[in-house]
């Protein structure tokens, strides 16, 4: 397994001597192509089709973020892991209302279980409401209530002002961090989906017609508490991210390039850090946890084993 590379400076990404080279006026660095698993590009990077051809050949996904740190999209190389059979199963689970509801509930259950254990929220009410939910909008409502509860907790934990969730543009630092963290998790899940036979457009909790790889949004629900929410609290508490890492421009707040670099660094360290997996009896990195979750979903779709969302506390 290679590493994830994060590029936070603007510059040019080219192919040179059969590897990838990043260059701008002050740095010139060649990145070993065999060591790249995924690329996160956080600033204005120009590239050419020769470089993309090499990335595609090596199966490297490149995630692009714009000047403000918003997710633009990913360069998703030609699929090499295809399975028509699994796609049919995926769609079957979508068209059958009961099967779809099961999976949608499972993802939200993952969000509830992980968020409550990590932040000491009361999960019983949410789990009860989730069991009672009869359709997808009701399931989403449970998720929304949970998030609201969490945002109050987030304010207490960090001492920063939150008010309410705002996107496009986020109106204060906490909102900006949540948006940025979520898009990292979303992109990372997509990176893992690429290596499985799953089709990233067929989803269960989110509607599959939203012009995005919505399956990643579903899976991201389970991982956002672990990979993003906890990280935000930690970065603020440890004083890594401070007020001056956000710049206010055109009436909204976003993370500065330096802030983004710090966040990406912490995110990468978290992904590579390991936890002991009870069932597998060995150490597993957080990054591999995402892949394992996808394999669990595949098993469910193939009717081999029912999908139960990752419970971080019981690992």
């Amino acid at each position: 397994m290679g590493r994830v590379y994060y590029i936070t400076h603007s510059g040019e990404l080219r192919r040179e001597e059969n590897t990838i080279i990043f260059e701008n006026s002050s740095i010139k660095k060649s990145i070993p192509i065999e060591d790249i698993d995924e690329l996160f590009l956080f600033s204005e990077v120009s590239t050419n089709s020769k470089a993309l051809a090499l990335l595609s050949k090596k199966g490297v996904i490149a995630h692009f973020f714009n000047h403000y740190g918003y997710y633009i999209g990913s360069f998703y190389p030609r699929e090499t892991n295809l399975s028509g059979f699994l796609l049919i199963k995926q769609v079957e689970h979508y068209t059958n209302t009961q099967k779809r509801l099961y999976l949608a509930k499972a993802f939200v259950e993952g969000a509830i279980v992980n968020l409550s254990t990590l932040f000491g929220l009361r999960k019983e009410d949410y789990l009860f409401a989730l069991r009672e939910a009869k359709n997808i909008p009701e399931v989403m409502k449970v998720e929304a209530d949970l998030r609201k509860d969490f945002y109050r907790r987030l304010e207490q934990e960090t001492g920063w002002e939150f008010e309410k969730r705002t996107k496009r543009p986020p109106q204060n630092p906490l909102n900006a961090l949540i948006s940025f963290g979520n898009s990292l998790v979303y992109a990372k899940v997509l990176g893992e989906v690429y290596h499985t036979q799953l089709n990233p457009t067929v989803s269960y909790l989110h509607e599959p017609s939203t012009k995005r790889f919505s399956l990643c949004l579903d899976i991201a629900e389970v991982f956002k508490p672990i990979l993003s929410d906890v990280l935000i609290v930690k970065l603020i508490r440890d004083g890594v991210l401070q007020e001056y890492h956000f710049s206010e421009e055109l009436n909204f707040t976003y993370l500065s390039p330096e802030g983004r670099r710090l966040f990406a660094k912490a995110f990468d360290e978290l992904l590579e850090s390991t936890v002991r997996h009870r069932r597998l009896k060995r150490k597993i990195s957080h990054r591999q946890l995402i892949r394992l979750e996808l394999y669990k979903l595949i098993k469910h779709l193939l009717a081999e084993e029912n999908y139960r969302p990752l419970n971080y506390a019981s690992l």
Binding site: G2, E34, D35
Partner: protein, 93 residues
């Protein structure tokens, strides 16, 4: 696993100069260029075998010297950079 690759290619003639460039080009696809003839980085077992076989096709076993230090894990391992500047093996740039 982590590896350190060092090479010393005999460049007395043009053949040697060519070999030197080829070795450098092969190595930089797999791991990071740290110093003139020193490469270092993380690599999987299978990729290490591929790297070795690619290198063996290029070098002259009699004249050149090529050494790979292999660390199965990074326990009991320390690496200090005494100079200024970014870590050349960093994945955040």
């Amino acid at each position: 696993m982590w590896i350190i690759l060092v090479y010393d290619i005999s460049t007395e003639n043009r053949e040697g100069q060519k070999r030197l460039n080829k070795v450098r080009k092969i190595a930089k696809r797999y791991i990071n260029h740290v110093q003139k003839s020193v490469f270092e980085g993380n690599i999987t077992k299978s990729k290490l075998e591929r790297l070795k076989s690619e290198l063996l096709q290029v070098i002259n076993k009699k004249e050149d010297s090529l050494i790979i230090y292999i660390f199965d894990d990074l326990v009991d391992y320390k690496r200090e950079i005494l100079t200024e500047g970014e870590d050349p093996t960093s994945n955040i740039l």
